[in-house]
Amino acid sequence: MSTHHVPGFTAPASGDLTTVEVAGRRLAVTVDDGQAYAFDDACTHAQCSLSGGEVEDGAVICPCHFAAFDISTGQVRTGPAKDALRCYRAQLLDGALTVEVPQ
């Protein structure tokens, strides 16, 4: 694992998502109750950008076919996606975001 600081991060409004580039990966980030959640931006179903969707009841909902993934575990809550979403440990301290990604 390596910890990356994300410069110039602006937290999205509740329920919204933003994207960041970390170590060559495009991640979607959402902030819920002060806690940041980061996961792959590409949906595991047909690679739509999850940052174009929204977060509801702790799940990110894909804008293409409405698969829902738990934002803390990446587990599929409803299809059509089959594979879990890859999640990354993220931390928000005084507005600064750090994300841990495997090397």
Partner: protein, 418 residues
């Protein structure tokens, strides 16, 4: 609540509806035997990718499975694959299979879906003329793609449009033919058909409309070479795909007292048929719609799942959740189209977005006498979900079309007092 239902559940049709019903029964405490019978040889799989990602890549079939093999063992679901049901005896409560076996049932769930219509056009059986419903169809189509130069797609419905888009993306020169005036004319109407037309023609697809196909013509090796149209025009074709609609797979039920509506099994919204202990779900059904006062077919991924779950609820005595709205999606090129509700030609259309900009996001609202009947979104999944709660309500068209009005805040207008 009633005790968990027991007895034997026989489910005929091992695809999305059938497999969903099988797992849903177990998850709701059904502890009798569950037998899932399917004509296709393999485990139940999902079809949407067949005209999209599966066709465009070397994706393996196990990526399409509804559930993996272990899940059937864990849930004690007995699979009878590669064996078709041939007859139903509703009096004796049994189903006969092609293998000769007879399966008695306490509860029968029919999820035999649909198969492609085969119009009686001369030459339709020529090598090189394809259709697309199963992985076997997709595999034989996929095998022809390397080096393919041109193709004719017959039918500009969802399947035809998606195949045209996928082949075009792969570099094949595509001509698509249909008797209707434009792509998706029936499901979307003239105005939105014009938008879909631009998606295709802007990417080089040739759309030929208002004409029928009269024959598929062979070359010297008896493989398809051209498509002949009713006015005598000929379209070169190294390959043809016919996608002109489907027929509910109910031929094996013809001699029963089951209520069929234009070939589909008539069901109530919980999947009950007119016969005791017999339920149906998915593409094989036509569901009674109170609003429209007739049976309606919803031949889509989400409807198959929803109906199968309602059938499992009905069998196990599980309370039914509120009915969900019918919905579907379609992907063409990088356009993602979503739809929720149900509309007909009598609806007015209100747009949010500019239909003359074919690659921009767009929402189309279908209104029946001022009430929102359905919403269609192009690359607007998030807004579509927000608008969904307004379906069935009286809404102000000006707010719908105004992109500055947040759909989360839009409130229905009180209907005028009578």
């Amino acid at each position: 609540m009633s005790a968990p239902a027991a007895g034997t559940a026989v489910i005929v049709g091992a695809s999305l509806a059938g497999a969903t019903a099988a797992f849903a029964l177990r998850e709701r405490g059904f502890d009798g035997e569950i037998v899932l019978v399917g004509a296709e040889p393999g485990l139940p799989y999902e079809r949407p990718a067949l005209s999209k990602g599966y066709l465009a890549s070397d994706m393996p079939t196990d990526k399409l499975l509804v559930r993996d093999a272990d899940a059937y063992t864990e849930h004690q679901i007995t699979l009878r694959l590669g064996d078709a049901a041939t007859a139903l005896d509703a009096e004796r409560r049994s189903v006969s299979l092609a293998s000769g076996d007879v399966l008695p049932y306490t509860h029968l769930v029919i999820g035999t879906g649909a198969s492609n219509a085969r119009p009686p056009i001369p030459g339709i059986d020529l090598p090189g003329v394809h259709q697309l419903r199963t992985t076997a169809d997709a595999d034989s189509l996929r095998a022809e793609l390397p080096g393919l130069r041109n193709a004719v797609v017959v039918g500009q419905g969802f399947i035809g449009c998606e195949i045209a888009a996928t082949l075009t993306t792969l570099g094949v020169a595509v001509t698509a033919v249909d008797a209707v005036p434009g792509p998706l004319w029936g499901p979307l109407g003239p105005q939105l058909s014009g938008l879909v037309r631009r998606w295709h023609t802007d990417r080089g697809v040739r759309l030929v409309n208002d004409i029928t196909v009269s024959a598929f013509l062979p070359d010297d090796a008896s493989r398809v070479r051209a498509v002949e149209l009713a006015d005598g025009r000929r379209l070169d074709a190294d390959l043809v795909v016919v996608g002109v609609g489907v027929r509910p797979a109910t031929r094996w039920l013809q001699d029963t007292a089951l209520h069929l509506v234009r070939g589909a099994i008539g069901v109530d919204r919980d999947g009950r048929t007119n016969l005791p202990g017999v339920y149906a779900a998915g593409d094989v059904t036509a569901t009674w719609d109170d609003e429209l006062d007739r049976h309606v077919r919803h031949e889509h991924w989400a409807s198959a799942i929803d109906q199968a779950q309602r059938v499992a609820n009905a069998i196990t005595g599980t309370p039914q959740p509120d009915a969900v709205l019918p919905s579907f999606w379609s992907d063409q090129y990088d356009r993602s189209l979503q739809y929720v509700g149900s509309h007909d030609a009598d609806c007015d259309i209100v747009l949010r977005g500019d239909p003359n900009q074919p690659d921009a996001p767009l929402l189309a609202f279908f209104l029946r006498a001022g009430r929102l009947a359905a919403v269609l979104g192009v690359d607007s999944g998030k807004d579509l979900r927000r608008a969904q709660r307004l379906v069935g309500q009286q809404v102000n068209p000006a707010s719908l079309s105004d992109p500055t009005v947040d759909l989360r805040r839009l409130v229905p207008v009180a209907p005028a007092a009578h």
